[in-house]
Amino acid sequence: MQAEDNNIKANKERIVAFPQMGNIRIPVAAVLKAMGANLYLSPDNNKEALSLGTRHSTETVCLPYKLNLGNYIQALEGGANVLLMFSAPGTCRLGNYAKMAEAKLKELGYEFEFIVFDMYKGKFVEIVKKFSQATGNKSIPNAIKGIKLGLAKFDALDAIERKLFYLRPREIESGTAEKIYLSGRRSIDRADTVEEVKNAIQSTLDKYNSVKIDNNKEILKVHLMGEFFVLLDPFTNMNIEKELGLLGVEVERTIMLSDWTNQTLVPKWNKKTETHRQRAVRTAKKYLTRAVGGECIETVGDAVYAAECNVDGVVHVGPFNCIPEIVSQCILPNVSKQENIPVISLLMDEQTGKAGMVTRIEAFVDLIRRQRKVRKTRIIQRKTMKNSLKTHSRVRIASR
């Protein structure tokens, strides 16, 4: 009995924290809560976390590491004592970050337990095991329930976000769709069962129907692609989706959270459709024949795919000094030229100012808008040419 009591006590004192990346906090928090963990929810990525992380890391390390480190420091200051981190082989510097962060935090004098999701050892089993280790949860049904709820939330967030991307450039009063999205996100966060999550999606989608949209507006379509973290974290990419949306551009982000979870968690034999990576490997073949780590092949493949989809342009984002993105950045101009699609590369670091970035996006949008007009007028010209030829021939036939 006493031992059990001690166990419970030990569990009660364990406070779990994990690094932030956009919306990922909601589903991950759901999984951990369902498994009975005490959570320290660090705030969304912010300037303070960034400056803390930058102060304690080497200069040329990429932005995601700096932010993660900042999150950890904030969490430890806030009372957390169990930290979670991912580690995967063959990617990029990411595989080193778990060890580096641990060493740095120990050097700073914090005491904590560091749990690394080691992707060297299989995926699904490892995730369940490490979540259980973090939360001290021993019942497997609880774990499965938690993970199911988490996955439902991943899907739900994507569903309402996709609709937001569609509405943002079209709405008449800008900002209404965003408000509905934020309230929907809150209700998804609050939901405790899969049923409640479903209700939250439904009510949000219903509310979206009340948004008045301008059907006559000319909407440009852009694919947003690049490095995983920057793509999914609105603080790091300076809310580029919103900026593009306000300029009248519909954004399609090539990585959604649920795509990624499906890709990493679902075993290979259970995959029915072509995954994102498979598609990228297929489309990138002409430019990049081997995977070189990180999201390089996805970026190049997506750019080619965007050209196949006939969208107006491609926006490529990534952290400064990201090794795989440098490779893709070198390759993209060639893709742009050969496939005839405009590409802009925006690399973020802690010094990037928002105003400069917005200016660049505006210029890019202006360019693709003009190009679209040129293309349209060309098509019209061709049509009129054809028509006039037809009438000419008819006239000729008549004169005969």
Binding site: T58, E59, T60, V61, P89, G90, C92, R93, G95, N96, K99, M100, A103, E107, Y120, Y287, L288, T289, R290, A291, V292, G293, G294, C296, F320, N321, I323, P324, I326, V327, Q329, C330, I331, N334, V335, S345, L347
Partner: protein, 355 residues
């Protein structure tokens, strides 16, 4: 048949092997010129500015081969991984892809892949891919040629382990000779210089660092003089596992040299924007502090001035000299004190006897 090999990146580690291998298959190798300022700026014009210096230089060498040397076949291998899940840096993994997309000229690119994490992408497949585009598909001949290549490579490794400068060793190995000299260590200061071969032995990048150190009376030790076992031990000193394909020559060597009492200081030379190096150097710095070895980290890019470089090396060696002198003086003082103590004792005894 002529193939062009850029005098950059892998050249500094594997050239003797390539020389033997291609030579025995009757393929002539054309090397690009040594790195010059113009070559670097030509190369940097092709890729985005954030790309690391060695890759920019590599592109410059490819251009040099195509424009000046009249070669229309370029050999550019992709070394994906050297062991199970021990991968290289992305830029080296995608090197041929980079060349294909960036160099807009008409040429045949031979792009073999070595990937030990995959089942069918081992050494012989790699070698087969190296010569198949040239019309050589006889697997027996390739195996034989590979043995010849290894003979050259082993001679080269043997000489570097003995302490010969790798460029000198390469020249000797290519002549088919093995020279083992007897060396006496008469230098007052010993420094371990840690860097990837393509940075250290390219005199344009490292700005003749060996000569500069020699002039200051410093003996430079390099990772090529260590055995793989020593470097593996070194990794354990730094409390880490092998993650990058070329981590041994930096982290491993650092660990090994840090525990070596004859080494007075450590100098690391990294290219700006090198991803793996930034992490390795961070770890080395932490452990150098713990093990109390002086450490100087030099970062180079295409704009680095030579004057600043020299000043920092001089300051570092001055500091090492001072430290060594102080140590010697301290030891002498201790010795003198011990001696004088002993004399006093002897003296007092004498007095006792006298009394």
């Amino acid at each position: 048949m002529k193939i062009g090999i850029p005098r950059a990146l892998g050249y500094y580690n594997y050239y003797p092997f390539w020389f033997g291998f291609f030579g025995s298959l009757g393929i002539e190798i054309v090397l690009s010129d040594k790195t010059t300022k113009k070559l670097v700026s030509d190369g940097s014009a092709l890729v985005v500015s954030e790309t690391c210096l060695p890759v920019k230089i590599y592109m410059g060498h490819v251009l040099n081969l195509l424009e000046k040397k009249g070669v229309d076949i370029i050999y550019s291998p992709s070394i994906q991984s050297i062991d199970h899940k021990i991968y290289n840096c992305s830029k080296l993994r995608g090197l041929p892809d980079l060349v294909r997309n960036v160099v807009k000229k008409d040429f045949l690119l031979i792009e073999p892949t070595l990937d030990k994490s995959e089942k069918n992408q081992g050494l012989y497949q790699y070698l087969y891919e190296s010569v198949a585009p040239l019309g050589i598909t006889d697997k027996k001949a390739i195996k034989k040629a590979s043995k010849v290549g290894w003979a050259y490579q082993n001679n080269f490794t043997g000489m570097t382990r003995d302490g010969m400068h790798p460029i000198e060793a390469m020249e000797t190995a290519i002549k088919g000779k093995v020279i083992i000299k007897s060396r006496k260590n008469n230098y007052p200061i010993n420094i371990a210089v840690l860097a990837h071969g393509y940075n250290l032995y390219d005199n344009h990048v490292s700005m003749n660092i060996f000569k500069k150190l020699e002039n200051l009376g410093v003996k430079a030790h390099v990772s090529e003089s260590l055995s793989t076992e020593q470097m593996n031990e070194g990794l354990k000193v730094l409390n880490t596992n092998l993650y990058w394909a070329n981590e041994l020559e930096i982290s491993g060597a650092a660990g090994s040299f840090m525990t070596n009492k004859n080494i007075d200081g450590i100098l690391t030379l990294t290219a700006f924007g090198c991803g793996p190096d930034s992490l390795m150097v961070e770890r080395i710095t932490r452990y150098a502090k713990r093990l109390q070895k002086p450490l100087l980290n030099l970062t180079v890019d295409e704009h680095t001035g030579e004057a600043g470089f020299i000043t920092r090396i001089e300051a570092f060696t001055d500091m090492l000299y001072r430290k060594k002198r102080a140590n010697i003086v301290q030891n002498l003082n201790k010795q003198i004190k011990i001696d004088s103590d002993r004399q006093e004792v002897v003296y007092s005894r004498d007095t006792i006897v006298k009394v």
